[in-house]
């Protein structure tokens, strides 16, 4: 009986995965998003193989050179290959996105789950804290944290990561509240499962879909914010190839060499668009109820 049950649930699982894929592929925009995200991941992973030149090799004689066959996107203010720097920049953006989301998930989700599961005073106190953190609009909390931690890539990731914690906490809380009184949780409780077991085995796995959707959409926000902080000169230190910092470098030459600022910005835009398209598609595929 045990094996047939496993088989059934496996088949059901496969069916569900297929259903998600079918719904996902029905949406062309989601597929475009997926392609963009895959290209982004590939360029981050095999940057040295893709980049036509060394991203750090400079040549002042060719500074601000316009796009050419050899240097398809031109050269920057120090004569470096912009295309190669953009390809290498994908690594930084990917790293930032992953770390920011990890901080958000690994801190925010347990906080939200515990808050919803125990309810009462715990929930009240945690939620007031979350309210307070959400009272800082947009990028402001990240800016305050950077001001205190100091400028640099690590601190940008920590600052943006901490700012996303309340969002994940809220999200996890509302998904757990929606399922915590469902029968399978009651059943687990009635057979004497411990709190930890109920949380880890039942509540978290069953509240994952909104968190997956949120994470995809959040990659977009994390990349956008980190690039913004890089643009403000608060991120990586030179000569690291990071899109926001590249844009900042090119900003001063916008009148004489438009390409230096244009292409890194275009890359940020396309990558963020890719994650947004994929996130929207995933939301419709995983949870049609949330469809707008």
């Amino acid at each position: 009986m045990g094996s047939s049950e496993t088989e059934y649930s496996e088949r059901k699982e496969r069916g569900r995965v297929w259903e998600v894929f079918r719904r996902l592929s029905k949406r062309v925009t989601a597929l475009i998003g997926l392609v963009i995200v895959l290209l982004f991941l590939i360029s981050a992973l095999i940057a040295p193989l893709l980049a036509p030149h060394d991203p750090y090799e400079h040549s002042l004689a060719h500074k601000l050179a316009k796009p050419s066959w050899d240097y398809p996107l031109g050269r920057d203010e120090l004569g470096r290959c912009i295309l190669s720097r953009i390809i290498y920049g994908a690594r930084i953006s990917l790293l930032i996105g992953l770390i920011v989301i990890s901080i958000g998930i690994f801190v925010g989700v347990p906080v939200g789950v515990v808050s919803a599961y125990y309810g009462g005073k715990v929930d009240f106190i945690v939620q007031r804290f979350v309210d307070t953190m959400l009272a800082f609009p947009g990028i402001l909390l990240a800016l305050l944290l950077i001001a205190m931690l100091g400028v640099g890539l690590h601190n940008v990731m920590i600052a943006v990561g901490i700012s996303t914690i309340p969002i994940y906490a809220r999200l996890a809380r509302s998904s757990v509240l929606a399922i915590k009184s469902r029968q399978f949780v009651e059943a687990a409780r009635s057979i004497g499962a411990s709190h930890l077991r109920i949380i880890l085995q039942h509540l978290i796995p069953n509240s994952l879909s909104p968190i997956i959707v949120q994470s995809t959409l959040h990659m977009a926000t994390a990349i956008l914010w980190a690039a913004g902080l890089g643009f403000l000169g608060l991120g990586v230190s030179p000569p690291t190839a990071e899109w926001g910092a590249m844009l900042n470098g090119g900003r001063l030459y916008i009148r004489v060499a438009y390409h230096v600022a244009t292409f890194p910005g275009l890359m940020i835009f396309i990558t963020v668009l890719g994650f947004n398209l994929l996130g929207d598609g995933l939301r419709d595929a995983l949870d049609p109820r949330l469809k707008t």
Partner: protein, 307 residues
């Protein structure tokens, strides 16, 4: 009923305001090193550091320190800028009207454009206009605001020469920064209006309005819009607050002399009293704007007040 609701909302706001001040207080105090040295600035003499220590009561218990910090805020004393030596309130007040002007202009652009686009897209669901405008809206959400600003500057000031690239001397200076800052909100408001419109026009009372023979124009503008715009009001309010925080990047691109630029300059020169003051002001304003939005919402949708 409604005055009770407003009082309740005001009461909820108080702990959040305290919370915000506590978070700012804690973050500034736990930073590595002696806060007195940091707050006095890098070039301060020993006497000045000592004066700051006494002024902030850093030799006292942390709780007493927090009370002093709050007292100073209530007296409108946010300390002195370590960069310019001027009172922080004076520094902020010199720049704040510019940011307010920019944010209001942006939200005006975003509301007019966003609501109109959202209504048309919603009423003509699945039309070419619907697809195209929602695609553009998705672009608007994904667009880095600093890049959009540079591109607009490249096209409209450097190539075409229609608007000045930087500064804040005239109405013409306001156009590009307002569009840049408002783009993201325009997209969000348009998407919200559309989905809210789609939801409302499926409701029974709209069917009734149509059934009694009203023209489509009247059904949409008189009946549907009134309810469809309720959630949009919330989004507009939230966006106004977000714009104050988001103005940082736009102000840097266009050299707009607002508090966003002041904040970045202060971060780069480690001018902590100013950083603390700007963050406190923007967070407080954001909370007040949310409160006003909630109150307006409760008038538009009386059901809210009963929950």
């Amino acid at each position: 009923m409604s005055s009770q609701y407003i009082i309740r909302r005001l009461l909820i706001m108080i702990p959040v305001l305290f919370g915000v001040s506590l978070i700012i207080f804690t973050i500034v105090r736990v930073l590595p090193g002696d806060p007195a040295v940091v707050l006095a600035g890098p070039h301060a003499t020993k006497d000045v550091v000592e004066q700051v220590r006494i002024q902030l009561g850093l030799d006292k218990h942390p709780v007493t320190q927090y009370v002093i910090f709050l007292k100073n805020i209530f007296r409108g004393d946010l300390g002195t800028s370590s960069r310019t030596g001027l009172p922080v309130t004076q520094e902020i007040m010199a720049r704040f009207p510019n940011t307010l002007l920019l944010a209001l202009a942006s939200i005006l652009v975003a509301t007019v454009l966003g609501v109109l686009t959202g209504i048309i897209a919603g009423v003509k669901q699945n039309s070419k206009f619907d697809y195209l405008s929602m695609l553009v809206a998705l672009f608007g959400i994904s667009m880095p605001v600093f890049w959009l600003g540079l591109m607009l500057m490249l096209l409209f000031s450097i190539q075409l020469g229609w608007f000045p690239a930087v500064g804040a001397d005239s109405f013409k200076h306001l156009v590009l920064p307002a569009i840049t800052l408002g783009a993201n909100s325009t997209a969000i408001i348009a998407r919200m209006t559309r989905s809210s419109m789609l939801e409302v026009i499926r409701l029974d009372y709209i069917r009734t309005a149509r059934a009694k023979g009203l023209t489509e124009k009247l059904v949409i503008w008189r009946h549907a819009l009134k309810n469809a715009l309720i959630p949009v009001v919330t989004v507009i309010g939230l966006q106004t607050g977000t714009l104050l925080g988001g103005a940082v990047l736009t102000e840097i691109v266009f050299a707009w002399p607002g508090i966003g630029r002041l904040l970045v300059e202060s971060i780069l020169s480690r001018d902590y009293p100013v950083i603390q003051g700007v963050v406190l002001l923007v967070a407080t304003l954001f909370i007040f704007i949310n409160l006003i939005v909630d109150i307006i919402y409760s008038f538009l949708d009386p059901r809210i007040r009963y929950h």
